[in-house]
Symmetry: C2
Subunit: 684 residues, 2 copies
């Protein structure tokens, strides 16, 4: 495990070596890239790349690839939309989708696209608001200030403003995005090729997936014009070529303290993994009821399996004693430097111990925090809707600064899009998920826990789940709208059994959340800020912050690696896809591919790997060359990259992408998607 | 966590404090018990208790409670038999069972009862056989010697001989048992009261379970006469009373090295827990298909849930940093003592490092070892039968000493009982389990693993599972008998698809097992022997060995404890059972109890706790007083006792038992089981 040598280099010498780093657009190490590759991205280049890139607010990355708002992302990033637009009959997941004309493009029920317009530093303002405060007062003051800043910035529904916490509180920056909520589906291949190899091949390489989809953002009912967009590369990625990945890595924990890492290793990850494994088993059992049950639960199952594999990789990275010893050494080195200087010792010296105490408290309330608040409902849409309606009716009458964060004014457009999504809701699956949730709640907290008694009474989890799902009217969007508009009075009068269930849980759920925010989160934030400041003082700012699901740019190159002593070449070819096919799911190719085989150039590169430093959230990121042309589309990392949560090892960590040539070849030869090919400039 | 202070005392001062210890019958600390309680068990007392106690070979404990072979154990220990004797119509699990006359007693398909006749030390013989050997040669020589000793001792099917490895190889002792394979069901209450509170209340206290069943051992078609048996106490257990528990604790790891504990903590336990959680989810999904599916899978589900909770407790004990630091300190102290003496250093000094290397190797092959060999089939009976037939046809022609251990002559009676069990096999459940197994195999080893390719070919796990379960004839006992008798030729000619599946896996399965035994297990055994000898030299033999599913005696007393600052009294009452009932499973009382409520003495003690040191395998153990009378029946430990795998904390670790008075009151007043009441001497 050489991973940590590099992390050490990063923290101790304050300079990431090799291709490491998920850099912010306003602190990109152009000089370093020039030194390594001869090319130094200019400010104009960086601005163009930033504006040509996009975020899918639900958790993915994307890019603009035409002046008419055409968006390139992964199939699995649009999967929910494709699924929600499907019926048992059309089944666009199984059959794929292609809008032959603009008029055929279908609006996604709940997709939001963000384009980063500018970044403003608000560190001084945020830290001033909490100066001298701690605990509940710190939490309240910081939340209020963040809500205020975001509200002042956001104009209508078309601008979205998020204060992003960078360097664990070392910086607070205001990210202002253009927001698009009218997003339509243009093209998606069959899932059989988008996710060829399925869960067994997920996070593996060599790989053969056309994990691609095209969306389009609309404004006032027409395709939105985009001044900035990526052109399609003629040649596509070549071995050794310099590559940039522009995307939104979700979360890394590379700067976490040892106490936080131990908590993740010993408690948070194992318990989450057991929960996900159980849910996977349940869904496998559910799917055996029939093809329709399979169809309606595949989206949830994909998410569960993907998380399972990713978190398993994280856990395994943390139990690697070499990595952990290195992390311990880094923390000790920083502490020792802090303690050498009396001023620093006084300012920062107790921060680690404070965080450790907060972590210990979190451990004590973790079961309640997880099962009453964070994982409540275990994925049930109706539960989520009921809770949103109930809480909205209580939160919205409060002043903006005092609300739960997700109910503040700047967050309402996203909340409403999700709440009023016309996506279908399936009672059979909902019953299963609510019953599972209630059963877990009782199992984990015990049948004698007051909240469990309050919600279950003398009923069994299964019987109660059946009753509330059968009785609720919340599948009806108009009903939701009426309750949202009617506020607390309407919600109280509704007598809706799902809302009643949520209401019985909510006092305990809110209480444990408040306890967490006031006594734990506030302590962690305050002290993480202190450690970040110590780091800046000692190592400067030439490092990158942990990922925060905000736009980042990484650089690297197309490069194979060595696994179990054998070289893994950087490319696969379209022909290899046919060789790997068995005819049985998940290794069954769609008919369209089998029919087109003889017409295809089987030598076309299919997937490839690069040394770019990415993580979950980067799905759908464009891979571009120094001319800012699309040469590929990130859709995965290899299994070795899963420890990337805690550090980066250039030797074996690889980003996995669809090759730009494979996308073009498939669009042209398999799907006859001429309109699309022309739009992205790929016509021959 | 004070648990480890006591473990320290044990290892460092070579004397278990308090009531700790699962003592062998030939090394019981009578003097120590006398010092604590005033009563010193005599050799005659110990012999009588040993011969009055019994082991259920499938993994439980029991006792003789009449001169006519009547056996007392837990409901959950007889659960499989009760289940296998049931049909959808009779459903003895749901409805309970009582044989009004001797002729009504039903033979269990596959229960074996063992009574320990005597113990002979064979340490010298076993260690002489391996002197100077290592690796494969060590393994082969030891296996051969064990097979030889056991074969020389075993006479016919009615005597069973096991060489038991005590103190991690510090002692080898030959345990000679009377073996009873004709075991019949006499009485079982409804599961609703036997397992009242179900999984939520499992490993909890206060508790309200009548987890009781009665069996009877037969010889030549008649009840076997037993000279030694326990009488029923008139008063039952009282607070503060001295109690003994005689049973067969399955496995503890209190003397394991740090390398072994780390492996359990970081790899073995988390991976096992994820597997069990997923299987639980799958079974929950399966049970939703209907009541019959629920009935036929409940036994598997109970086992899975029980293991899940127990192993979760173990994992949590190991991630407790206090406990682990203590374990590390103990090991260092022992190593330091060893290294102080040049002779000891030379003899024993490298043992820990050798074990660590072996553990590292085990980690590398753990996936194959688990999924090709140890967990192969994930509980499918047909898979197990097919593998047994295939391997028996290959192993039995070999000389006894060269066979896989479970095929040696002394083990054949148990193997045959299991192989030819007439218990029903349910194709729907079998298909589910085999499909799950094949899917896990592919998921864990990857679709490109040669063994996965060999077994799956181009088929999907589900399709293949359906095919082999539908096509196999192995559900038919006569077919199995014919293939077993016909040997390799008959097995090869059978064309049975389940045997074919097993055959495709077997070369890889055998290879990884051989690698484990020759290169890993042999190293661990050899070096564990060395550490054990060092321990004996330095601390003497006044300690108890780790549990090995062989008869042990522990002492303690009836005593409450403190939980979350509140005292937990040692007794519950029958009346409390009615108070806890909700009418919904698993808190629904059976009709018999509701009907009898007014006739019951609700003040009768129901369950109680003692300080006896027990662990899984002790289920069904009698709790006796100093007069060797039954005062209770062990059926569980409290949640705090789950860390007992690694150490014992008298403050909070408690054994949970059914009170002898509750058993009598229920038999008399609820079940009208007069014949049984009379036989155990409980008639008024």
């Amino acid at each position: 495990m050489n991973r940590l040598l590099i992390v050490t280099a990063l923290v101790l010498s304050a300079a990431a070596s090799a291709d490491e780093g998920m850099w912010t657009f306003n602190n990109f190490p152009s000089a370093k890239v020039k030194k390594a590759s001869g090319f130094a991205p200019s400010q104009a280049w960086l601005d163009d790349v930033r504006l040509s890139s996009a975020r899918l607010a639900g958790g993915c990355s994307a890019s603009f690839v035409s002046p008419d708002g055409l968006v390139l992302t992964n199939h699995h990033c649009a999967r929910r939309c494709i699924d929600e637009l499907s019926t048992a009959k059309t089944n666009f997941i199984a059959n794929g989708f292609y809008a032959k004309t603009l008029a055929d493009e279908l609006r996604c029920p709940a997709v939001e696209v963000n384009q980063l317009l500018d970044i403003t530093d608000v560190t001084e303002r945020v830290t001033r608001a909490t100066r001298g405060l701690s605990g509940e007062a710190f939490e309240a003051a910081q939340k209020a200030e963040l809500a205020k800043i975001e509200k002042e910035c956001a104009q209508g529904d078309e601008v979205r403003c998020d204060v992003v916490t960078l360097y664990q509180g070392g910086q607070y920056q205001l990210y202002r995005y253009a927001r698009f909520q009218d997003v339509r589906l243009v093209f998606a291949p069959e899932e059989a090729i988008a996710f060829f190899g399925g869960d067994p091949d997920n996070f593996e390489f060599p790989r053969y997936d056309l994990d691609v989809s095209f969306l389009r953002v609309y404004k006032d009912g027409k395709p939105a014009k985009t001044d900035h967009y990526f052109r399609w590369s003629k040649a596509g990625a070549a071995e050794g070529e310099l590559t940039f990945v522009s995307g939104n890595p979700g979360k890394t924990s590379r700067l976490d303290t040892i106490a936080e890492l131990e908590y993740a290793r010993d408690w948070a990850l194992p318990e989450r993994l057991m929960y996900l494994a159980e849910l996977r088993g349940l869904l496998m059992g559910f799917q055996k009821r029939g093809p329709e049950q399979t169809r309606i639960s595949n989206n949830v199952k994909f998410g569960v399996e993907n998380s399972l594999k990713a978190l398993r990789g994280r856990r395994e990275a943390l139990v690697d004693p070499t990595l952990f010893a290195q992390k311990v050494a880094e923390e000790k080195a920083l502490q020792s430097k802090v303690n050498q200087n009396p001023r620093r010792k006084k300012l920062y010296g107790t921060a680690w111990a404070e965080i450790e105490k907060a972590v210990e408290q979190e451990k004590n309330i973790r079961k309640e925090l997880t099962w009453l608040e964070r994982s409540a409902g275990t994925g049930s849409d109706l539960f989520r809707i009921a809770r949103t309606l109930l809480r909205a009716s209580e939160e919205l009458p409060k002043p903006n600064a005092e609300r739960l964060q997700e109910y503040t004014d700047a967050r309402l457009p996203s909340l409403k899009q999700s709440l009023f999504s016309p996506a279908p809701i399936y009672p059979e699956l909902e019953t299963e998920l609510v019953a599972f949730y209630l059963e877990k709640l009782r199992q984990v907290l015990g049948p004698d826990h007051p909240a469990v008694k309050a919600v279950l009474g003398k009923e069994s989890p299964e019987a109660l789940a059946k009753k509330v799902v059968a009785g609720t009217k919340l599948a009806d969007v108009k009903q939701r709208q009426a309750l949202f508009d009617g506020g607390a009075k309407a919600v109280a009068a509704s007598g809706d059994p799902m809302i009643d269930l949520v209401r019985r849980l909510d006092p305990a759920a809110r209480a444990v959340r408040k306890q967490y925010e006031d006594q734990i989160e506030s302590v962690m934030r305050k002290n993480a800020e202190l450690i970040a400041r110590a780091r800046f003082e000692l190592y400067g700012t030439s490092v990158y912050p942990d990922a925060t699901f905000s736009p980042r740019l990484s650089y690297g190159s197309v490069k194979g690696y060595v696994e179990d002593g054998k070289p893994v070449p950087p490319f696969t070819r379209m022909g290899g896809t046919f060789e790997r096919a068995t005819g049985e799911e998940p290794f069954a190719l769609p008919k369209s591919w089998l029919a087109a085989k003889t017409k295809l150039n089987l030598d076309t590169p299919m997937n490839f790997v690069t040394t770019n430093d990415i993580i979950g959230g980067n799905s759908g990121s464009p891979v571009i060359n120094k001319n800012a042309e699309i040469v590929g589309l990130i859709f995965d990392g290899n299994i070795q990259s899963l420890g990337g949560e805690y550090g980066f090892d250039e030797k074996t960590n690889r980003a996995v992408a669809v090759h730009s040539a494979a996308i073009l070849e498939a669009l042209r030869t398999i799907y006859g998607a001429d309109r699309l090919v022309k739009e992205i400039g790929g016509a021959k």
